[in-house]
């Protein structure tokens, strides 16, 4: 018995000693590894040395992060392989991250000092990442080039460019032509924005209850609506366009002051909420999900819906009705907002120069033409595509787009002449600000509070978040 126990304790003791040595071994292993990387690191920095390294058979690997599905990543990898063919010394590896957790993942990678070399970046996180020193300086990317991206899609910190959007996107109005024809209502115009009252009246004619009566008629039953006239997407960041349309601003033009408590802003938000609670022409939306077009106009029972230009390629190409594109209605000014994820170089990169060359190459329209621009997901970034008719036609004259005249009026000219930068191009902390604003506006959508009251009551909190406190 005693002997038996002795054996057990010896075995256990040995096991313990073994596990300790095992620990020790791995530890020495990692130290060795770190010293190894430490020695290679300074060697990699001077370009000449890096080239010799490359000459000896090693290729430079740069990682590029991208949001999207594995299918999309495969098409991005094809483009990256093309770059490898043109530049044999450089291999680009694609890191694919789902869109909804993109910034989350990058934040975590940044904390672990494992950011990719370069990648696409979520608009609302750009200036924030910049202020933390996580973005490499790419301000001379277009130095000496004959064509630069549109000014309204250039991210600026203190007036200095920190990133360029890889795509241009504007908000527009989509409408279901079949529903308009059935109700015998004229289509919204692609060249002249309708006034807000005209918009509400049109929506009323297209909102139909279970008895076939529309919202303008006597005896309309708002409890049993089978077809709605419109959806104005209240997904929070898109509401900024209505403030501008109503002559207000969320933030001052220099991005230093928060002016969301002004009457123009409150009125612009209230008008959107009234579409649901007073006019009954818009289905209830809590403004919590980013599926504005998918869950509204694409479902086929809503006549008009605001959305982004990217929706032409992401969901409207699959609908079984005829749709058209028009300008957003206007409250006081005819305006839309533009945005687009930029390509950035992360400062944790060991090969910033190569990474910048790659994204500069990648941002050329021809490299994303087939997969993104011709399909209607991205709009070009260079001004010449908006001003040179031949280039414009090469872009919008294909089967993925609605009719030519509509596209010229509501996409090309609208983006060129009426688009203003979304707030994240010139002020940081928009991520947190929009998150808080989303919470604050909850009671406005349900009709339990007015926009004026909640913006007044929460101004201090909103302003504190805006200032990054």
């Amino acid at each position: 018995m005693k002997k038996y126990k002795k054996v057990i304790s010896t075995v256990l003791g040995l096991a313990m000693v073994f596990s300790l040595t095992a620990c020790g071994n791995t530890q020495t292993g990692t130290t060795a590894q770190t010293t190894e990387t430490n020695t290679t690191e300074p060697a990699a920095q001077p370009t000449t040395e890096a080239n010799t390294e490359q000459g000896s058979g090693d290729e430079i690997h740069i990682s590029y992060s991208y949001w999207g599905t594995p299918d999309e990543a495969a098409s991005v990898q094809e483009v990256a392989d093309k770059y490898h063919e043109e530049n044999p010394g450089i291999v680009v590896d694609i890191v694919c991250i789902p869109n909804e957790e993109y910034v989350t993942k990058l934040n975590t990678m940044a904390a672990a000092n494992e950011l990719p070399d370069c990648g696409i970046m979520s608009e609302a996180g750009v200036l924030d990442f910049g202020s933390k020193g996580l973005l490499a300086d790419i301000s001379d990317m277009y130095a000496g080039a004959d064509a630069a991206p549109l000014d309204c899609i250039t991210f600026k910190a203190d007036g200095k460019p920190v990133a360029y959007s890889a795509a241009n996107e504007v908000l527009v109005l989509y409408y279901n032509k079949d529903l308009f024809d059935a109700a015998n209502v004229p289509y919204p115009s692609a060249t002249e924005a309708m006034s807000w009252n005209e918009f509400v009246d049109t929506a009323k004619k297209l909102t139909i209850d279970v008895n076939g009566k529309n919202a303008g008629e006597e005896g309309f039953d708002p409890e049993n609506i089978v077809q709605y006239g419109c959806t104005v997407d209240n997904w929070t960041w898109q509401l900024e366009v209505w403030a501008l349309s109503n002559g207000g601003r969320w933030f001052s033009e220099d991005g230093k002051t928060c002016t969301i408590n002004t009457p123009e802003v409150a009125e612009s938000i209230q008008k959107v909420a009234d579409l649901m609670n007073i006019e009954h022409v818009m289905p209830y939306r809590a403004g919590l999900t980013d599926d504005g077009v998918q869950s509204t106009i694409c479902a086929g029972n809503i006549a008009m819906s605001t959305g982004g230009a990217w929706n032409i390629g992401t969901c409207l190409n699959g609908v079984d009705f005829n749709y058209g594109v028009a300008r957003l209605p206007q409250m006081k000014n005819s305006v839309t907002i533009c945005t687009g994820g930029p390509q950035v170089v992360f400062s944790q990169s060991k090969h910033p120069a190569e990474a910048m060359e790659f994204i500069k190459w990648y941002m050329k329209e021809e490299n994303s033409w087939d997969s993104l621009i011709a399909t209607g997901i991205w709009m070009p970034i260079l001004e010449k595509y908006y001003t040179d008719e031949a280039l414009t036609n090469s872009w919008i004259d294909n089967e993925n787009f609605p009719e030519h005249e509509e596209c010229v009026g509501a996409l090309v000219d609208y983006a060129m002449n009426n688009a203003q930068s979304t707030c994240w191009y010139y002020t940081p902390h928009t991520n947190e600000f929009i998150e808080l604003l989303r919470g604050v506006l909850g009671d406005v959508w349900t009709g339990d509070a007015t926009a004026e009251d909640v913006l007044k009551d929460n101004y201090d909190a909103l302003n504190a978040v805006f200032l990054g406190e």
Binding site: K2, K5, I8, S9, L12, G13, M16, V103, T104, N107, T108, A110, A111, N113, D128, K132, G133, L134, E223, N224, I225, P283, Y284, A286, G287, L288, T289, N431, E432, E435, L436, R438, G439, V440, L441, G442, D443, W445, T446, D448, N458, A461, A464, V465, E469
Partner: protein, 301 residues
């Protein structure tokens, strides 16, 4: 001589016991206590994921309870949700377990049916429920409008969102049913027979025999359900994004939001530490009251 031998045996056993405990203690220290201490340490600094943490003392905690736009509300919402979800799932699963404990036809099938929600993937469950709850054309509202009742907004309304989410949590509590079932099968038949001989009816047998015998199981389930529900985050992530307003912004969601959406890791550490203390307080309260209502058959060991 014999006594000395016995003492030595005892000492050997102690040594073996400690040696056997070493792996689990190492695990506990490095996977639980060290991270916990690190969270406490980080929560006293300002650290946004990059650079070196900067010591700020209790500033994060002060900010949480004074100017933070979410935190105090999130505590209220979390406690509100936990109360409804815990009470609801305890009553529901005990009731279902009592029914499944009877000799009914296809008992195995029904046991599987009630356990099924627990093993379904969470995202699928929540998306399914979001269609039921949808404010304009959802199934529940379709039924309500057939009955001529005013439509309800369910998860899109700030009053109904927490009860609606708690209902999903109740529906998901299949694991509690299994534990209750096991407990019910351990209630000694002799007590029931004795009560029957004394002329007790079904309700009296339930309250005076079944419930007292079940108290240790009830306590265990209560504790587990409380801890799980205090950490609720999935419905907010999957369905509501914390809204409408802040009405479903649970503590864990606020923590997630600060840590991973905004990169304010040290601030999120402060939140998780407060959350830890809060759950700790509730657990201690539960343990403190347990002596007065738990009946252990084996005496007070």
């Amino acid at each position: 001589m014999k006594k000395q031998h016995k003492k030595k045996m005892h000492k050997d056993e102690v040594i073996v016991a400690y040696i056997c405990l070493i792996p689990s203690i190492i695990g506990l220290i490095f996977l639980t206590y060290v991270p916990l201490a690190a969270v406490l340490g980080l929560s006293l600094t300002k650290w946004e994921g990059v650079g070196t943490p900067e010591w700020v003392g209790l500033a994060n905690y002060v900010k949480l309870f004074t100017t933070d736009p979410y935190f105090v509300d999130s505590i209220k919402v979390t406690i509100y949700f936990s109360l409804i979800a815990v009470m609801g799932s305890m009553v529901y699963s005990l009731a279902v377990a009592l029914l499944l404990n009877r000799k009914i036809p296809a008992r195995g099938f029904f046991r599987a049916v009630f356990y099924l929600p627990y093993v379904l993937p969470a995202m699928a469950v929540y998306i399914g429920w979001s269609w039921l709850y949808e404010a304009n054309f959802g199934l529940f509202n379709y039924v309500l409008s057939l009955l001529g009742i005013h439509k309800l907004k369910f998860i899109a309304s700030s009053e109904l969102v927490v009860p609606s989410l708690a209902l999903i949590a109740v529906w998901l509590s299949g694991n509690l049913i299994v534990i209750f079932l096991a407990g019910l099968q351990n209630v000694p038949r002799v007590y029931h027979e004795a009560a029957e001989i004394d002329g007790a009816n079904a309700w009296q047998k339930f309250t005076n025999v079944t419930i007292p015998c079940m108290t240790p199981i009830i306590f265990y389930n209560l504790l587990m359900a409380l801890i799980t529900n205090m950490q609720v985050v999935t419905p907010a992530l999957a369905l509501t994004q914390g809204g409408p307003g802040n009405s479903s912004r649970f503590i864990s969601y606020v923590m997630y939001q600060y840590a991973f959406k905004s990169g304010k890791f040290s601030y999120a550490c402060a939140i998780s530490f407060v959350s830890f203390l809060l759950i700790g307080v509730f657990t201690v309260i539960l343990f403190a009251t347990s002596k007065s209502w738990i009946f252990y058959e084996g005496g007070d060991d």
